[in-house]
Structure formats: C-alpha cells, structure tokens
C-alpha cells in the first residue's frame, strides 16, 4: 500500500487530508512541524510527501531541499494557500504544486499521477 506523509501546521487540514486520502486507500501519517516530519521520515518510507510551505515559523521549502537531496525516491507535492510560490525557483524542485482548495480533486489526481509515474520507472 502507498504511504503518504502530510506536513501541515493546520490541524484541521491534516485531519481533512488524512481522512480523504485514507478513503482513497492510502496509508497516511501526519506531521505539524519539520522535526516531526523528519522523525517520521527516518522511521518509514513514503511514496509521496504532501508539504505545506508556510509552517508557522518554519519554511516547507527548506525541508523540500533536504528531501530532494536525501530522498529522491519519494515524490513531494507542495500544498499551499499561496499561488505565488509557483514562480519561486526553489518551489520548482517539487514534483507537484497544488493550491489549497475545498475541492481536493486536483490534489488527489496529482498524487495518483506521481505514484503511477514512480511505478512506471
């Protein structure tokens, strides 16, 4: 089963996303901070990490750089309220970029696409 890590400082988003993705048949873990995420990443392997950019006083883009260097087998999707980061070079390192919305179809399609891409390799 594909495992997904959700990194977001908003508890309501973590809960919503994890339920929706579990309904889709994924195994889901959540982290509210970068250190929590790193802890989980050191214990388990994930197919996809769903990463918020603004994490209270931390930046998801910092974690993204680390993940690209150390976990290049895992896809990372930036999930954020800010559409402007699409133009940020550091955001281009991510495999996907989804603006948060009440309609999660785009997010789910993106996760599916990346998992299929990984499987095809």
């Amino acid at each position: 089963m594909n495992r997904i890590l959700i990194v977001d400082d908003e508890a309501s988003i973590r809960l919503l996303y994890s339920q929706e993705l579990m309904d889709e048949g994924y195994e889901v873990d959540t982290a509210g901070t970068i250190s929590e995420a790193l802890g989980l990443l050191s214990e388990k392997s994930y197919s996809v990490t769903l990463l918020d950019i603004k994490l209270k006083n931390e930046s998801g883009l910092d974690l993204l750089q680390k993940l690209v260097k150390e976990r290049n087998d895992m896809a990372v999707i930036l999930s954020t309220a800010f559409s402007c980061y699409k133009d940020d070079f550091s955001a281009w390192l991510a495999d996907g970029y989804v603006v948060k919305s009440s309609d999660m179809k785009e997010l789910k399609d993106e996760i599916k696409r990346l998992i299929e891409r990984k499987r095809a390799r």
């Binding site: 908003e10 309501s12 988003i13 919503l16 996303y17 339920q19 929706e20 309904d23 603004k54 309220a81 800010f82 559409s83 402007c84 133009d87 948060k100 919305s101 009440s102 309609d103 999660m104």
Partner: protein, 538 residues
C-alpha cells in the same frame, strides 16, 4: 583779337550765359562759384585763354590750375559716388542686422539671409545655397537653396518681384511664410550633391571654411582644384564660396553665383558679402542654439511631466500595494480554514451521513467555492509583479477569451460580437495577465448589465498603440463612478465594491500599458485596454 568769354567782356549781360541753367541762378551773383563750376568747362573761356600771348605767364598758370581743378573735381565725384554706395550698403546691412537680431527662428534667419543675397534690392546674386555643418561636425550638409532653376523661372520670379515692389524685409517675410519649404524641395537634388564630408580637406568648401576666407572661383571647369562633380552640379564657371564663422565655430558655407545672367562677380561683391556673412553666421548660430535650447526645454518639460505622472503612479501603486498586502494577508489566512470547511462539507456529502441536510451541505460548498474565487482574484492582486512578455496576436487572445467565457456562461447565455481589426500587428504582452484583465472587464459589464444582450469586443491599432475594447452599449458612468472603479474597494451605490477593474489598472500599468474608461457619444461606455505596440527586443 576778340574775346568771347564774359570775363573778358565785362559789359556783357551775365544772364545771357548759355552754361547757366534753370535753378542755377545763384551763380549770377557769385563770380567765384561761377568760375569753378561753369567757366573752367566753358568752350569760350578755354578759347580766350588760348588767345592769351604765349609769353604771358598767366596763360600757363591758368591752364595748369584749370586742369588740376578738373582732375581734383573728378576724383571728388568718384569718392562721393563711392561714399554714397557705401552709405547705402551700410543702411542695407543695418536693416538686415536689425531683422537678423530680432529673428530667433532658424528658418526666419535663413529667409532673411538668402533673400538678401539673391534679391535685386540686396546683393543681387542669381542663386545661393547654404550648407551647414551637422551636429557632429562631420559633414557639410546642403540645407537650403534659393533662386530660379532655369531661365524661364528666373524671368517670371524677377518680374513678380519687380511688380510687387516689396522692400527687402517684406520679401524675406514673404519667403519665410510661403516659399522656404518649396525652395528646399526644389533644390533637394542639388543640396544632396553638395553635401560633403568635413574630412575632405582639399575640397574647396572645406578649404574656405578651414582657412576662414572667401574664395571666388573663376573658370571652374579649367580649375584643377575644383571637383568636376561640383562644376557639373552648379553648371557655372564662376561662383563664390563664403565661409560662415561665428566665434571660431564653423557654421557652414554660402555659395552664390549668377547662374542666369552670368554677370561677373567682382572682388567688391565678395567683400560686401563677407561683411554680410559675419552677422548672418552669428544669427544662424544663435537661432540654431535657440532651436536646440527649445528642444531641450521641451524634452525637460516632457521629462518633468512624465516624472510627475510616475510620481503619481508610484503614490497610487504604493497605496494599492498597502491594500494589496493587507488583502493578501487576510486572503491567505482565510484560505486554510476555507479549504477545511469546504473539504469537510464534501466529506459529509460523500459519506451520506447527513442525507436529509444535503441542501445545506450544497449551500456550504457553493459558498465556499464562491469565496475561493474571490480569494483567487484578491490574491492575483499581489501576484506576478513582473509580467512574462512574449509576442502574441491580440485578436487571437480576444477570440479565445470570448469563446471561453461563452462556454463557461450558464446555458451559454453570454454572446459576443467581435470586431477585430484585420492584420493587427503582433505585440509583446503577458498573455495570462491581459486575458485576465479582459475577462474581468467582461465580467464587470455582464454583472452590471445582465440584460445587455451581446457584448462587443473590438481591436484596432494606430501608430504605436493597440486598443482592446469592451463596449457596454447600455450604461454610462459618471466621473465619480469611473474613479470608484479604478480604486480598490471604493463603494458606489450602483456598482457595489470590488477590486476587479482597479486590479486590471495596476496589472496594465505594471505591464507598461494603460486602462481607460470612455463615454460613447449617445450613451454607453467603452472599456479600453491600451497596449504599446512593442516589437521584439523592445
């Protein structure tokens, strides 16, 4: 021996003297004046002197005195004629100087100078050309030619001038007002041929200018120092090259000839023209400097105007930026909870747990979606500061946006009438931003005029500008309403409030374009996106 002269016949009535004419009656009472003015030239007096005895010393003395007197008188008359001519010349130069001093426009100065050279009331040359050094001082450029091009024209012009009886000043004013452009065009071919590089040191023009002396060229076709091309261009054997120098600065060259009459140009003509050339050179330089000064002043005025506009724009954009930062911050704070609210409503819908409350959940979802769209618009306000420019066909953009909006409108109620200019040039623009602005304008028109029926979109170009306009044929806007539309969140009773068009204005200004709302005579409003026709690489 009989004497004939009255001096030797004291009894003769002096009033019978045949040499004294009417109006010279004063000579009757003044023997001294009569002697020097009439008697020395009188045949009877000469003959009487000749009859004097050879041994009389008086005969020799009177002959010497008489001859010397006649010679001195001839010399005095010649000097008097010379002085009269010089006096007239000074008067003429004085008149010209006055006109030159009061003329600040270059063409006006040139009109005075060239008319003076070619007019019979001036120096009376048949034809004159002016060559001026260019700003980089690399070329002597043919600037103006005055005179006839052939014999027929010459007689016609001179006849006209004779009949007009204009003074020199009047002639030059007439020339300045009505003829200077046509004369320039008439001699364009010759002026182009006369243009030479300042590097050709041996050319007669450069020699005259560099040596600061006029040159009277004689037998031009036989003169090895004269370029045969120049002789062929001018078609004369004799011409005058006059340098125009003002305070050590080479202003240009005056060329003059008697192309029609072939009247010889004398060294005295050359000297007179040289005297005239000094004030002309000075006036030309002053007028050129004045013209350049005016250009600079105009440029400064334009720069100041632009600067003022930029300052106003900066102030407005700063205000907009403050609003933008606040709205952006609020919008981001709203997006997370909004995503959660909408997301949970969807979960509940999907689970079927609240099937009896399905309508409520649908309302929550609908409202969340609407809020999401508002957020997207508000967030666009602070996004994409730098446009992504590329070459696009504006007609294609207008047609695509219209088709997209038609398709998205509920039950395809929205209809567009496209009036797109054929062969509209491609222009550099940010497709996404301009498409967004067009959509926003169309949305504004449809929201405020739901019964407007079809909406017209027009494109057209003129010079460096391209217009993309949306036409609202129904409603007209007051100035207050137009201002309100350009200011984010400024509310009006009829238009409500929002950032849509204000955002368009900011986007277009950042894009180097502008947005305008115009009244249509007879009713209606035209919303215009005005783009600069920017070519590749600009």
């Amino acid at each position: 021996m009989g004497y004939k002269c009255c001096w030797f016949n004291p009894g003769r009535n002096i009033k019978e003297c045949p040499n004294i004419e009417e109006g010279e009656e004063y000579l009757y009472s003044s023997p001294r004046k009569r002697l020097v003015e009439k008697c020395v030239y009188c045949q009877s007096f000469q003959e009487d002197i000749a009859q004097l005895p050879e041994e009389s010393p008086l005969k020799k003395i009177i002959s010497i005195l008489s001859d010397e007197y006649k010679e001195q008188k001839g010399h005095l008359q010649s000097l008097s004629t010379f002085l009269t001519s010089k006096s007239m010349e000074i008067k003429f130069l004085h008149e010209l100087s006055l006109v030159l001093q009061t003329s600040m426009e270059l063409d006006e100065v040139l009109s005075v100078a060239m008319t003076a050279i070619t007019s019979g009331k001036g120096f009376g040359m048949n034809r004159a050309f002016l060559l001026m050094t260019d700003r980089d001082r690399k070329y002597l450029v043919g600037h103006l030619g005055v005179g006839p091009r052939n014999y027929e024209e010459a007689w016609r012009i001179w006849d006209e001038v004779d009949r007009s009886n204009f003074s020199l000043t009047e002639l030059s004013r007439e020339f300045y007002k009505t003829k200077i452009s046509s004369e320039r065009a008439k001699f364009q071919d010759i002026l182009e041929k006369l243009t030479i590089s300042r590097d050709l040191k041996e050319h007669i023009f450069n020699r005259s200018l560099n040596d600061r002396r006029p040159i009277l060229v004689e037998n031009a076709s036989q003169n090895p120092e004269i370029d045969p091309g120049l002789v062929s261009t001018l078609g004369v054997e004799q011409f005058l090259v006059m340098p125009l120098i003002s305070r050590n600065r080479s202003i240009g060259i005056l060329l003059a000839d008697n192309f029609v009459t072939n009247k010889p140009i004398t060294p005295r003509d050359m000297q007179s023209l040289q005297t005239f050339a000094f004030p002309v050179a000075f006036a030309i330089e002053r007028a050129s400097l004045y013209e350049r000064l005016n250009d600079e002043v105009e440029k400064q005025a334009m720069a100041n105007k632009k600067l003022k506009e930029q300052q106003e724009l900066i102030v407005r954009m700063e205000n907009m930026a403050v609003v933008g930062r606040i709205t952006s911050s609020i919008a981001h704070s709203i997006r997370n909870p909004l995503a959660a609210i909408g997301g949970y409503a969807r979960s509940l819908m999907k689970s079927g747990d609240l099937i009896d409350k399905k309508e409520y959940l649908e309302q929550i979802l609908k409202q969340a979606k609407q809020l999401d769209e508002v957020l997207e618009e508000v967030l666009s306000y602070s996004d994409s500061v730098h446009p992504v420019m590329d070459s696009w066909d504006l007609n294609h953009l207008a047609a695509s946006v219209a088709a997209d909006m038609e398709e998205r409108s509920i039950e395809h109620k929205l209809k567009f009438v496209l009036k797109l200019e054929a062969d509209l040039p491609q222009t550099r623009l940010d497709y996404k931003q301009i498409a967004y602005c067009l959509k926003t304008v169309i949305s504004h028109v449809t929201i405020n005029q739901p019964e407007a029926g079809s909406i017209a979109i027009e494109t057209c170009s003129s010079g460096e500008r391209i217009w993309l306009c949306v036409i609202d044929k129904v409603s007209s806007l007051s100035e207050e309403m137009k201002n309100a539309l350009m200011t984010p969140f400024m509310e009006t009773a009829t238009l409500g409030q929002g950032v849509g068009l204000a955002l368009c204005k900011v986007i277009l200004e950042r894009h180097g374009s502008s947005f305008d709302i115009e009244d249509i005579p007879g009713g209606g409003t035209r919303y215009c996106i005005i783009l600069q026709n920017l070519k590749e690489g600009m």
